[in-house]
C-alpha cells in the first residue's frame, strides 16, 4: 500500500475536468485507488463520487494505492499532480 498527499491548486477545487482526467488515469491501473479528503473517501473509479466529495481549492487530499501495480500508479499520479493539475 502506498499513501501520497497532494494539494489541490485549482481555485475552483477538484472540479469536473481534472476529476475526469483522474478517473481516466486510474482506469489504466489494476490497483484500487482511494481518494480521501475532509473526512470523506471515494474510489477513484467514479466521477460522481469524487465530485460529491466537494473538494475545495487549496485543500489537501490523500491518495491510497493498493494492488499489484501500485508503484506505477503512484508514480503516474505524482506526474499528473505536478504537470496537469496546474493548468486546469
Amino acid at each position: 500500500m502506498i499513501t501520497k498527499e497532494y494539494m489541490i491548486l485549482a481555485p475552483e477545487g477538484m472540479h469536473a475536468r481534472p476529476a475526469t482526467a483522474m478517473v481516466k488515469l486510474a482506469r489504466k491501473y489494476q490497483s484500487t485507488i482511494l481518494l480521501k479528503a475532509g473526512g470523506k473517501e471515494a474510489r477513484l473509479n467514479s466521477l460522481l463520487n469524487i465530485l460529491s466529495m466537494h473538494i475545495k481549492g487549496g485543500s489537501p487530499v490523500t491518495l491510497v494505492f493498493e494492488g499489484i501495480d501500485e508503484g506505477g500508479a503512484a508514480a503516474a499520479f505524482d506526474l499528473f499532480f505536478a504537470q496537469n493539475l496546474k493548468d486546469w
Partner: protein
C-alpha cells in the same frame, strides 16, 4: 434586457428559440424478469450509443471543448450511476424512468451544494441524463436553421448543446445559468458572445426577432431601433480590432526592438479581473486593489474572509507575481462601519496608510490575511500613500510584529514576501534615494502623483484640462524615481493610468521603466508599441 455577460463580444442577428421538451416518468412497472433483462439491455445500449455520439463530436471540436464533453462521457459511464440505475430497473422500473429518477437525485445533490461551481455541475448531470433519455426515445438532434447570423435563445443550454451549436450561431442568451457553467466556458472558448441569467423576460423573444447581444455588459436588445443597431455595429468593429491585436500579440513576449525584456502586468480588483488579465496576456498583477473587500458591507471583513479572497487570487495567478496593496480608502469613500469625519481636503487627509498606521487593528488583520495567503503563490506586499521614510519604517515594524505573531501561533507564511511602496506623493518621489534603501520595490502611482504635483484635483471637471501627466514636472519626478530605484538595485514599476497609455510607452521606456501595470484591456496596445521601440 439585463443578464450576466459570460463571454464578451457583440452579435447582431435573428433569434432562434429553442424550446426544451420535458421528459416525464411514466410510472409503468415491468411485468417480469425478462422485461427487467430487456430494459437493462436497453439502458446499456443507450449508454454505449450516447458515448459513441459524444466521442464522434469530440473528434470535431477543439481540445478544451472535447474535455468538457469528456466529463459527459465519464458521467454516462460512471459505475455509481450504473449501479443505481440497474438497481431501479431490477426493482421493476423501466429504463427511461430509472435514468430520469437517478438523474433527478444527482441533480438535487449538486443543486444543494454551497458553492456556485458545484451548483453549476447540476447542469452537467441533467445533460447526461437527458442525452440518455433522448437516445432511448430514438431522437436525433439537429434543427432546421436556414441562412446565417442566428442568435440562440433558450431557457438553459446544456454543455453538450452548447458544443453542438451550429457554426452559423453568432451568440446565445439564456434565462438561467451562471458564470461558472460549462456552457459559459464553451462560449468563451469559441469566442461566442453569451449572456446568461436573463430571467423569464427572455420568454417574450420569438423566432426571427432582431437581437443585439453584448456579452461583455450582459445586455440583450430585442428589436432595437436603428440608432442602437448603429452604435452596436461600431462597437462590434472596435471589439473585433481589439481582438485581432490581442490574437496577434497575446503569446508574443514583450521585448523591445533592441532586445530588452519588459514586464506587462495587470491592475485588478476581483477574481474575474484576474481571468481577464490572463486572457490579455498579463505576466502577473502589478496592483491588486483590496478596497472592494471593504465596501458594500456592514462590518469589517474578518481575517478569514480576506484570506479566502487573497488565496483565490493567488491560486488563479498560476504562480505569477501578485502585488497586493493594503487598504487605500479615505473620507471620499466612507464606509458605514468606519465613520471617517468629513474633511475639507480628503485627498490631503486621513486616508490609506495614514489610517492603517493609526488603526493598527485593521492593518494587522489585513497583513495577517495576506501573509497567510502568501504560501499559495508568489505575493508582494505594497503600501499606498507613503510620504516619508519614517512611515515606511512604522509600517514595516508592524509587518515584523505580525510575522512574529504568526510564527508563534504556528501559522504558515512565506517569510520572504517583498515589501514595497507606491510612489505617489511628491515628498516620496523627492526622497526616493532614501526610501529605496528600505523598500524592496517601487511602484509609481501616477494618478495621485499628477494631482499632488500639479495641485489639480482630478475629480474637478472645471480644471480637467490642467490635469496633465505629461507636464515636465511630473516627468522629471518619474525619471528621478526610476533612476534612484535602479541605483539602489530595486525594481521600479508603474501602476497609474500613464502606464497603460500607448502614447507614453516610448517615453517611459527611455526613462528606464521596465515594469508596466495597467487595466488588462490596455496590454495588447502597449505591447505593440514596445515591440517597435528601442530603449537606447
Amino acid at each position: 434586457m439585463k443578464g450576466i455577460g459570460v463571454s464578451p463580444g457583440i452579435a447582431i442577428g435573428r433569434a432562434w428559440v429553442l424550446r426544451s421538451k420535458k421528459a416525464r416518468v411514466s410510472g409503468v412497472l415491468l411485468a417480469d424478469e425478462d422485461a427487467v433483462e430487456r430494459e437493462i439491455g436497453i439502458y446499456r445500449i443507450a449508454v454505449a450509443s450516447a458515448v459513441a455520439s459524444l466521442e464522434a463530436m469530440m473528434g470535431k471540436v477543439g481540445k478544451a471543448e472535447a474535455e468538457i464533453l469528456e466529463v459527459q462521457v465519464e458521467l454516462l459511464r460512471d459505475p455509481q450511476m450504473e449501479e443505481d440505475v440497474v438497481a431501479m430497473i431490477t426493482g421493476r422500473m423501466p429504463a427511461k424512468d430509472a435514468v430520469l429518477k437517478v438523474t433527478e437525485q444527482l441533480v438535487q445533490i449538486f443543486v444543494n451544494m454551497d458553492d456556485d461551481y458545484m451548483r453549476a455541475r447540476a447542469a452537467d448531470m441533467q445533460d447526461a441524463g437527458m442525452r440518455l433519455v433522448k437516445v432511448m426515445d430514438g431522437e436525433e438532434d439537429g434543427a432546421g436553421m436556414v441562412g446565417g447570423d442566428w442568435i440562440v435563445i433558450a431557457e438553459d443550454l446544456s454543455p453538450s448543446e452548447t458544443v453542438g451549436l451550429d457554426h452559423r450561431v453568432q451568440a446565445f442568451a439564456t434565462q438561467m445559468g451562471g458564470a461558472t457553467s460549462h456552457a459559459a466556458i464553451v462560449a468563451r472558448l469559441r469566442g461566442l458572445p453569451a449572456v446568461v441569467g436573463c430571467g423569464s423576460d427572455l420568454g417574450i423573444v420569438a423566432n426571427g426577432d432582431l437581437l443585439v447581444v453584448d456579452g461583455e455588459m450582459g445586455v440583450v436588445f430585442v428589436n432595437p431601433d436603428d440608432e442602437v443597431i448603429d452604435i452596436y455595429r461600431s462597437k462590434k468593429e472596435t471589439y473585433a480590432e481589439r481582438q485581432q491585436l490581442l490574437l496577434r500579440l497575446k503569446d508574443r513576449e514583450a521585448m523591445t526592438a533592441d532586445g530588452i525584456r519588459i514586464q506587462l502586468l495587470a491592475n485588478i480588483a476581483t477574481a474575474r479581473d484576474m481571468e481577464q488579465a490572463l486572457e490579455q496576456g498579463a505576466e502577473g498583477v502589478g496592483l491588486l486593489r483590496t478596497e472592494l473587500l471593504f465596501m458594500d458591507r456592514e462590518r469589517l471583513p474578518t481575517e478569514d474572509e480576506q484570506l479566502d479572497f487573497y488565496k483565490d487570487i493567488l491560486l488563479r495567478s498560476g504562480g505569477r507575481a501578485v502585488t497586493i496593496r493594503t487598504l487605500d480608502i479615505g473620507g471620499d469613500k466612507p464606509l458605514p462601519y468606519l465613520p471617517l469625519p468629513k474633511e475639507a481636503n480628503p485627498f490631503l487627509g486621513y486616508r490609506a496608510i495614514r489610517i492603517c498606521l493609526d488603526r493598527t487593528d485593521i492593518f494587522k488583520t489585513q497583513l495577517r490575511a495576506i501573509l497567510r495567503a502568501s504560501v499559495f503563490g508568489k505575493c508582494r506586499l505594497m503600501f499606498p500613500m507613503i510620504g516619508s521614510v519614517q512611515e515606511l519604517r512604522q509600517a514595516k515594524d508592524i509587518v515584523a510584529i505580525v510575522k512574529e505573531e504568526l510564527t508563534a501561533s504556528g501559522a504558515a507564511f512565506d517569510p520572504g514576501v517583498p515589501v514595497g511602496i507606491m510612489i505617489e506623493i511628491p515628498s516620496a518621489a523627492l526622497t526616493a534615494d532614501l526610501l529605496a534603501k528600505e523598500a524592496d520595490f517601487f511602484s509609481i502611482g501616477t494618478n495621485d502623483l499628477v494631482q499632488y504635483v500639479l495641485a489639480v484635483d482630478r475629480m474637478n471637471e472645471k480644471i480637467a484640462a490642467l490635469y496633465d501627466p505629461f507636464h515636465p514636472a511630473v516627468l522629471r519626478l518619474i525619471r528621478e524615481v526610476i533612476g534612484q530605484g535602479h541605483r539602489q538595485g530595486i525594481p521600479v514599476g508603474m501602476c497609474g493610468e500613464l502606464a497603460g497609455d500607448p502614447q507614453a510607452t516610448e517615453l517611459l521606456l527611455e526613462m528606464g521603466l521596465r515594469e508596466f501595470s495597467m487595466a488588462a484591456v490596455s496590454i495588447p496596445a502597449v505591447k505593440e508599441v514596445i515591440l517597435q521601440s528601442k530603449c537606447i
